[in-house]
Point group: C3
C-alpha cells in the first residue's frame, strides 16, 4: 500500500472518530435558550420567575432574553411589575448569573424611546426578530416564549 | 495491504454507510412536538382542539404538553373551559392516544396546589421551562405555543 | 492494495469531504422562519411590522406565516387593524417580497368561513399546527411567535 493511501485512510479514520466524539459532545453540550418577550409587563414578570427557576434547576443553561415591541418595557428605568416590584434589581441579579438581555433597536425608534432610558444590562441589537431567528438558526438556541 | 488497514477501511466504510442511512432515517423519523402552555384556561381549550386536529391529520406525531404557571390550571380536577366543557375527559382521551402531560413542580409550590389536585394523567417534572428546553435541545422536539 | 480497497478509501474520503463542506454550507445557509399566528388581529398587526423589519434587516430570510384559530382573521377580505389600517395591502406587499401565508383548513371548517373570503395570497394547508411542526422538523425552519 502506498503511503498516500495509508495517510488517506488514517485521515478518514481520524475524521470518523472525530465525528463520533463530536456527536457525543453534542448530546452533552450546554443547553442554550432564547426567551422571547413581546407582550409587556405581565409576561416579563412571568419570565423573571421562569428564568430564576430555570437557572436554579439547571445552572449551566445559557439564557438570552430578546425583547421587542412591548417586550422591552421591563428594561426601561423605573419599570415595575403590576405588584409594584421593580424590575431593575431582578434584571441585575439575572445578569450577574450570566443572563443576557437584548433589545430591538427598531422598537426604540418606533416607540420614540431614547437609549438612555434602558437599564445598563440591556444591549441593543438591530432587530429583535432577526436576533431570535439567528440565535436558533446559527447558534443552536432553542425557543421559549414565557 | 496489511490487515489492520483493511479493517480500518472496512470500519470507515461501515461508519459512512451508517451515517448515510442515519441521515435518511432522520428525514423519515417521527415528528415530536412540545406544546407549551403557560397562559390559562382559554389557551388550554385551544390546545385541546389543536392537538386533536394534529393527531387526526398526523396520527404518528409524538406530542408532549408541558404546563407551567397558569398553563397547569386545565390539569386540576374539576377544571372547565369557559364554555363549561370539562377538561378531564379531553385529557383522558388524548392520553389514550399517547399524548403526555407534564406539570411544573415549581408552579405547584408557588401556587400552593397539592399534587393530589392534579388529574391522574398529569406527571410532575421539576421545572416546566427546563423541560421545554430539554425536549428541544436533547430529544429533537419542535416547539409550538397554542 | 486491491483496487476495490482503493475505491473504498477514495469513496470514504469523498464522503468525508462532502460532510465537511456540507457542514460549512449549513452555517452559511438561508435562515428560514415560521411565524405562528393564533391570537387575532392585534398579534397579526404586530406580525406585519415584525416581518417588514425582519426583511429590511435580513432580506434573504425565508418567511412562512402559518395562521390557525383567530390567527387567520387578518387574511379575510376586509380585515383591518384596530387602528383601521387594512391588512390586504400589507399582505400583498409582503407576498411580493416572498413571504408565504398558509391558512389552517380545520379553522375554516370549524369557524364556518368559506374559502372565498380569504385574500388571494392565503394558501390552504390541511392543519396549521401540523404545518408549524413540519416546517421545523422536516424543513429546518425556526419558530417565532409574534
Amino acid at each position: 500500500m502506498r503511503t498516500s493511501l495509508k495517510v488517506l485512510c488514517a485521515a478518514a479514520f481520524a475524521l470518523l472518530l472525530n465525528t463520533a466524539l463530536g456527536a457525543h459532545a453534542f448530546a452533552a453540550e450546554q443547553v442554550k435558550v432564547v426567551y422571547h418577550l413581546a407582550d409587556g409587563i405581565d409576561q416579563a414578570a412571568r419570565a423573571m420567575a421562569n428564568i430564576r427557576n430555570h437557572l436554579r434547576a439547571e445552572p449551566d443553561t445559557r439564557i438570552v432574553v430578546v425583547g421587542n415591541g412591548d417586550g422591552i418595557r421591563f428594561l426601561l428605568a423605573g419599570a415595575k411589575e403590576r405588584s409594584g416590584r421593580p424590575f431593575d434589581a431582578q434584571v441585575k441579579n439575572l445578569a450577574a448569573q450570566g443572563v443576557e438581555f437584548r433589545v430591538c433597536t427598531n422598537t426604540l425608534t418606533s416607540h420614540d424611546i431614547p437609549e438612555s432610558q434602558l437599564l445598563p444590562e440591556a444591549k441593543l441589537v438591530p432587530s429583535g426578530v432577526v436576533e431570535v431567528a439567528r440565535l436558533q438558526a446559527k447558534e443552536g438556541y432553542v425557543y421559549l416564549r414565557p
